[in-house]
């Protein structure tokens, strides 16, 4: 279970990107986070695995408070949190297998990883997962030779190699064409069920969000302003989430929130 309480993130002295955000994810579920660019979706996911340092508030994953971990305990926590990226973030010049095995870097000792001498069970797991998503025949290809959809599968498998307790997907389909994008969403949903995983997906495509997830969280100005079933997300709620021009939004964010609170 993931429990985020009173999360605040400010960059420098500027206005808060996340302000007093609360979210609970109990057990297995596939959750879409929607919202205009700049609403704080990416920052929220990155606060969870501490690629971004939260300013204040707490994030608990299965009873462990992630917000104050340092050094090796932070790495122990991170290896239990899988992340999938918009740009895939594969190591282009390494093979697909090396990319997949790099999901084990938090577990294997330095020299074994540097010499590519991974434990047999890691290699078994890698082949098993690659077969599951249909990329096993690419094991020795260089990652940059694959198509977008195949590369994102490598990204998904790398995350699953971590034996994660939760998956974070930051716009996993934004760099893909509509067809592969649906395939990746489908894959994330079924993997969430197979491995009993909570999956948080930042996504711009509301149709896909409604179709493939069980719960939708709408963010605006660094807060959650919608949280419900896909069927609850009607036109009015959509307007509320996406109202306004993203660039101008940040400028008068504070004002709108105050007005919304007053009205």
């Amino acid at each position: 279970m993931l429990k985020i309480s009173n999360l605040v993130k400010c960059y420098g002295d500027s206005k808060a990107v996340l302000s007093d955000l609360n979210l609970e994810v109990p057990g297995q579920s596939c959750i879409a986070i929607i919202g205009a660019s700049g609403a704080g979706k990416s920052t929220l996911l990155r606060c969870i695995n501490r690629l971004v340092e939260p300013t204040s508030g707490t994030i608990e994953l299965n009873g462990v408070n992630l917000t104050h971990l340092q050094g090796s305990s932070l790495r122990m926590a991170r290896r239990r949190i899988g992340m999938i990226f918009q740009g895939f973030n594969l190591i282009d010049r390494l093979t697909v297998m090396e990319n997949v095995l790099s999901g084990r870097l938090g577990y294997v000792p330095f020299w074994r990883a540097a010499l590519r001498k991974y434990p047999q069970e890691d290699i078994d797991r890698a082949f098993h997962l690659m077969e599951r998503v249909g990329i096993a025949h690419y094991a020795n290809k260089r990652a940059d030779e694959l198509s977008g959809g195949e590369r994102q599968r490598v990204g998904v498998v790398r995350a699953l190699m971590q034996e994660p307790e939760i998956l974070l997907a930051d716009e996993p389909t934004a760099s893909l064409d509509p067809k592969t994008s649906v395939q990746i969403m489908e894959l994330l949903r079924s993997l969430s069920e197979e491995y009993r995983l909570p999956v948080l997906i930042n996504i711009h495509n509301v149709q896909e969000a409604k179709e493939f997830t069980q719960r939708i969280v709408g963010m605006r100005f660094g807060r959650i302003i919608f949280d419900g079933l896909p069927s609850d997300l009607d036109a009015e709620a959509m307007d509320h989430v996406y109202d306004g021009v993203p660039a101008a939004e940040r400028e008068d964010a504070q004002g709108v929130i105050l007005r919304a609170a007053a009205g």
């Binding site: 991170r78 990226f85 190591i91 010049r93 870097l105 330095f110 990204g155």
Partner: protein, 273 residues
């Protein structure tokens, strides 16, 4: 308010155009030009040129050059050992220099190293770059004596100055997403460097190594002249014995060796990119 559409037949209000000057202020422009001229004349007039000596020297130079023709490869075995020593100096100094450059480049990359380490790395590069190889060679010849060791140490430092700087700049341009992905997987600092940074800089690394080998081969002939071993030492000895035709032959051999090495490395580098 919109501009009225002008009649295409009427002459335009302005009919001259000149390219704006690089320095728009004319006073500044002309005083700079004047300053350069005055300085040039002054510098030329204050440096001691001994015209008589130059006049005497010209026939001597002619004698040297006529003595150098035709080039004569009198002792090929001497040239061969010199050339082989130069090659060994170039290879060893490239391996040593590039090997040291890699950790220094990581230290000197702003995006990876903590501030004090970054400053140390940059400091090493600046020191390695600030002296011409000849000066470093003179220092090393004094420190470790005549011979190839002085040459190897000199060129290793020369290699660090160039390779570490270029490599550090490449490291600062890496795709950060790949680093982020491995950090998110819980990977430690050094294994992240090996997995996410090294593959990205590898092509540049190999290209720089080949280029630096070329460069070291050239420079090792030059530092040999001040006593750091190799073909440069052979050349200098020939000059000392007034053996100009032999010296000229050695010079031609050096040029041929450098051209050959550049041709080979050029091919390899084209294949790499």
């Amino acid at each position: 308010m919109s501009e009225p559409v002008s009649n295409p037949l009427a002459p335009p209000a302005r009919r001259t155009w000149r390219k704006p000057s690089l320095i728009p202020n004319p006073a500044l422009r002309w005083s700079l030009i004047l300053l350069v001229i005055v300085y040039f004349v002054w510098a030329l007039s204050t440096l001691p040129f001994d015209w008589n000596r130059i006049q005497e020297g010209l026939p001597r130079a002619a004698r040297i050059f006529s003595g150098a023709f035709p080039p004569d490869l009198k002792r090929p075995e001497l040239v061969f050992t010199g050339l082989m020593e130069t090659l060994r100096i170039a290879i060893l100094s490239t391996i040593l220099g590039v090997g040291l450059s890699i950790p220094i480049a990581f230290m000197a990359a702003r995006n990876l190293a903590p501030k004090p380490v970054y400053l140390l790395g940059r400091g090493i590069i600046i020191v390695a770059r600030s002296f011409h190889p000849i000066i470093v060679a003179i220092l090393f010849v004094k420190a470790v004596g005549f011979g190839p060791l002085a040459g190897i140490l000199t060129l290793a430092i020369y290699s660090i100055g160039f390779v570490a700087k270029m490599l550090a700049e490449r490291i600062e341009e890496i795709n950060w997403g790949q680093v982020e992905a491995l950090r998110a997987a819980g990977a430690g600092y050094f294994i992240t460097l090996i997995y996410a940074v090294l593959p990205q800089i590898m092509p540049r690394q190999i290209g720089l190594t080949i280029y630096q080998f070329d460069s070291n081969l050239r420079a090792s002939a030059v530092v040999g002249i001040v006593g750091a071993g190799g073909i440069g030492a052979t050349l200098m000895n020939a000059f000392r014995r007034y053996d100009y035709d032999f010296a000229f032959a050695i010079t031609l051999i050096i040029i041929a060796a450098i051209l050959l090495s550049e041709a080979i490395s050029g091919r390899i580098r084209r294949k790499l990119w």
